[in-house]
Each structure stands twice: as structure tokens, then as C-alpha cells.
């Protein structure tokens, strides 16, 4: 099954509410995905700076990192976000590579990405989602079908700088596509089908395709059921498989564009009573963006 929630704010006045609203949407989607949850949130950026979201085993002392690297660090349970001037990226990655206990979850000027095993409410609470603010967020509640219930198997998956992917469905040719992508140098951590979709998009972007072109290429190369939502620095995109096996509902008002696997997830959003509600069409790439 799985549930997807996405919220893209047009009205900056709602930005302090982004985390709370997203947590509410994920909570409703517990029925569709109770085993793990995750979210990517696009908050403020510091000009010339980059953020890495890191994950380590529970109890790891992230706050010892700033002393090592001379950078700012915000701890969120077993994740932490470090921020530093972009020119130091190579140096910091080199140091992090010497810490096998640390995984780099995401890279971006704005995107922070958190995921874990457990009920969506518990995951949101652990990371402090309610208090987070930003311009847009996408989240996922997982009911595993294709691979194990692990933090690595939870969504979103990072596809590149400030980009991520969540998926409702299951891909049937992921082993095949994974083999092809591995030959092209794309690395995989799990046997998860969505990681292959993320790797596919990352590969297309590496080859110079734009994100919408990468999604169109996914329509040709990925076989199976999917509703994908992709997060970008300036907005988000939606793609459903041509048979439209997996549900998707959108709501648009003057203040926001919202995505939910079901309308129930949108029912608490402000002004939903008068929102334009519609179902995205199959095999059509949608984007909602604003100027960066």
C-alpha cells in the first residue's frame, strides 16, 4: 500500500506551519503505511552553504562533529544536519568517509531528509517535524512489500542535490534496471525497488536530462505500479503509471498545492472546503514550482 503526502506552500505566511501540517497528513496515512515513515523538508538556505543530512546508529554523538569540522550541526534523534560553506564539501565528505558508522542521507542547499522505522506519529515526533518550517515538504508512510522494513528501505530516497523521491506501488523490473544502473556506476544500498527508481532518476540527471525528462524516461523504463512524488529545491512533481493503479488526490487553493494518497490526508488543511480537488491523470508529468 503506502501513503504519500506533499504540501507546497504558495503563501509564505503558512511556512511556520509546514511541519505541523505535514505531520498531520502523515498521521492520517498511518492506515496505508504503519511500518516506517519519512519526509523531506525544504527550509531556509544560507547563501553559499550546503547542508548534509546524516544518519548514524542510535546514541552516536553528532554534537562532537562540529568540533571536528568547525561547522554547525543540528541533531534530530539518530539524524543530524550539518551546514558548511559549499567549497568545503569535498574535504568534509572525505572526513565523513572515514566514519563508516555515518551515512549521508541527503545533500542540498535547502533539503533535509529524515526517515525511520515505526508509526508515522512516532517518526514525526522523534525528528521534531511539528516544529519544522519551510516552503514545501513531501512525506511517506510505508507498508513494505518488496524489501525489508529497515531505515534504509523507508522513503524518501535522495536522487541528487535537493532532490528526493517517494513511491507508492511496486516495480516489477527493478532487478533488471538495478543491474543496468550498477554497470553505469550507480550505487545501491538495499534490494528495494524504490531505490532503483531513485537511482534511475539520478542516472538520467547525471546524463544531462532535466527532471521532467527523467520522469518521462521512467515511464518507458520502469515497469510496475507507481505513484511517484519528487521533491526539488523549488517545488514538487507527480507521476502516476499509465494504468493508474495507485491513488492520488490533489488540492489547490490560493495558499498551497497539496498531494495526498487519499482525500482523508488533506481534510485538515486550512481552507480545504473550498479547494480545487482533482485527481492527477495517469502517465502525465506534473510540476508545481516557484522561483528559487
Amino acid at each position: 500500500m503506502c501513503g504519500i503526502a506533499g504540501l507546497f506552500l504558495k503563501n509564505p505566511a503558512l511556512e511556520p506551519e509546514l511541519g505541523r501540517l505535514t505531520a498531520g497528513m502523515l498521521s492520517v496515512l498511518t492506515d496505508r503505511g504503519p511500518d516506517s515513515a519519512g519526509f523531506a523538508i525544504y527550509g531556509a538556505s544560507t547563501p553559499g552553504h550546503l547542508k548534509l543530512t546524516l544518519r548514524a546508529s542510535a546514541g552516536f554523538d553528532f554534537l562532537a562533529l562540529p568540533a571536528k569540522f568547525d561547522l554547525s550541526c543540528a541533531e534530530h534523534d539518530d539524524h543530524a544536519v550539518i551546514s558548511f560553506p559549499a567549497e568545503r564539501e569535498a574535504e568534509i565528505r572525505e572526513v565523513l568517509a572515514r566514519h563508516p558508522e555515518i551515512s549521508i542521507v541527503s545533500t542540498g542547499a535547502r533539503m533535509e531528509l529524515f526517515k525511520g522505522v515505526g508509526l508515522p506519529d512516532d517518526v514525526s515526533k522523534r525528528f521534531g517535524l511539528h516544529k519544522m518550517s519551510g516552503s514545501h515538504a513531501i512525506g511517506h508512510t510505508r507498508m513494505a512489500t518488496e524489501s525489508a522494513v529497515t531505515t534504509q528501505g523507508a522513503h524518501p530516497f535522495s536522487t541528487g542535490t535537493d532532490q528526493c523521491l517517494v513511491h507508492n506501488g511496486s516495480l516489477s523490473n527493478h532487478n533488471d534496471v538495478r543491474r543496468v544502473l550498477m554497470r553505469e556506476g550507480i550505487k545501491f544500498e538495499t534490494q528495494n525497488d524504490t531505490e532503483v527508481a531513485a537511482g534511475f532518476i539520478a542516472y538520467q540527471l547525471r546524463e544531462g536530462k532535466k527532471l521532467d525528462e527523467a520522469l518521462h524516461a521512467a515511464l518507458k523504463s520502469l515497469d510496475g505500479f507507481y505513484t511517484f512524488v519528487v521533491g526539488t529545491e523549488t517545488g514538487f512533481g507527480v507521476l502516476r503509471d499509465p494504468v493508474a493503479c495507485k491513488p492520488a488526490v490533489m488540492a489547490e487553493t490560493a495558499d498551497y498545492v497539496a498531494f495526498g494518497s487519499e482525500y482523508r490526508a488533506l481534510a485538515d488543511l486550512p481552507g480545504i472546503e473550498t479547494a480545487h480537488i482533482f485527481e492527477p491523470e495517469p502517465a502525465k508529468v506534473y510540476f508545481w514550482e516557484r522561483a528559487a
Binding site: 494504468v243 493508474a244 491513488p247 488526490v249 487519499e262 482525500y263 482523508r264 490526508a265 488533506l266 481534510a267 472546503e273 480537488i277 482533482f278 485527481e279 491523470e281 495517469p282
Partner: protein, 237 residues
Amino acid sequence: MSAAQKTMENTVTFDLAAAPLRELNATLQGLDASTNQTAWSVHNPRGGHAIAVGLTAPIAVTIEGHAGYYCAGMNDGATVIINGSAGTGVAENMMSGLVHVKGDVSQSAGATAHGGLLIVDGNASARCGISMKGVNIVVKGNVGHMSAFMAQSGNLVICGDAGEALGDSLYEARLFVKGSVQSLGADCEVKEMSAEDKTILVDLLAKAGVDAKPEEFTRYGSARKLYNFHVDNAGAY
């Protein structure tokens, strides 16, 4: 019945924000055919699933807002009006009665329904009328792909356009489309509009309050070539 309040007009209002859905459905399903309490109004549906399902008494239920999956499923004789949109499988397996959705409906509207009338004022998405078995469906807007897939009997009236593979693997159901058809499914073809077809269409348009002439519609039906195995196709297996 704490959440239910009787108003002056003798309509019982049931607030789903104040009481569980099971209580609503148990109450409505508990009414018998001779009940005097025939008017019900459901508030705060909030996209909940299976609202007003399995009704067997001739009552009228109005849902004030958007409904989730399977709303008014298995309806047998009641009138259910949704002042909003409905999710997957609205009026699925309806036996008789009326379901009227004022907004849009998601996929598989009227799936496997045996009788009654389903009216959709907006659009229906994929698989509208899939495996319909005698229901009448009038969609004032468009329908998505694979509508009337394996439809067995009944009438599907589409006042807008139809998506890909309309009437794929159709048995016997009448399909009427006013707009364009993206593509026809296997074994679905254009038929002559007979006098009987016209009578049925005029009646359904009147019941749904659609101001259109039967001449504006094209009638589709089964070419009946999939009924029996053709030995000439054996090489394909």
C-alpha cells in the same frame, strides 16, 4: 445516538466529527422499510471510507462534503446524495436506488453494480462502470481509461469524453458517449442507435437532468467476437 440531532424539517443530522462511522452505518442499516425517519444528513465526512454502505431502507441520505472509498456501496433502495466528491468505488455493487455525486468521482465508480442509478455531475476517473451488471450510470463530465471494462449489462451515459480502451472485453451493456473517445477497447464497436436505445437514453438524460438530445450521442456496444474461442487464433497461444 449522541451525534444525531433532529431538526425542524424532520431530518436527522449525524456528525461524523462527534460519533464513529460504524455508529452511523449501524443506525442506517438498522432502519426497516416502514421507517418514518427517512431524511438523514451526514456532516464532516472528511473523506472517510464506506460511508452509508449497505442501506436497505428507502431513506434519503445527504453527505455534506467529500466522501472516501466505497461510499454508498451495496445500496439497495436508498437515495444517497454526496455534496462533494467521492473516492474509489462509489456505489460499487449497488442493487437499486439512487446515488448522486455533485462533484467528481475516483476510479471504479459503480463497479459490478446490478441496478439503480448513479449520477455523477463532474468527471469520473479510470474504470467507471467496470464489470457493471445492470446499473444505469450517467456521467455529466468525462470518464477515464478502461471504463465499462467487462461490462455485462446496464447503460453507461458519458456526456463528456471517454479515455483509452472504452468498453474493453465488453459483454452486453449499452455505452452512449457525447464527446470523443480516445480509443475503443478490444471487442467494443460503434452500433446503430436503435429506437429502444433512444428511449433508454432519453429517459436517463431526463432523470439526470441533462439537457442534451439523443442524436448528439454515439452508441457503442459489444462486437461479440470474444464470446467464443476462435480456432484460427490458436497459433497465438
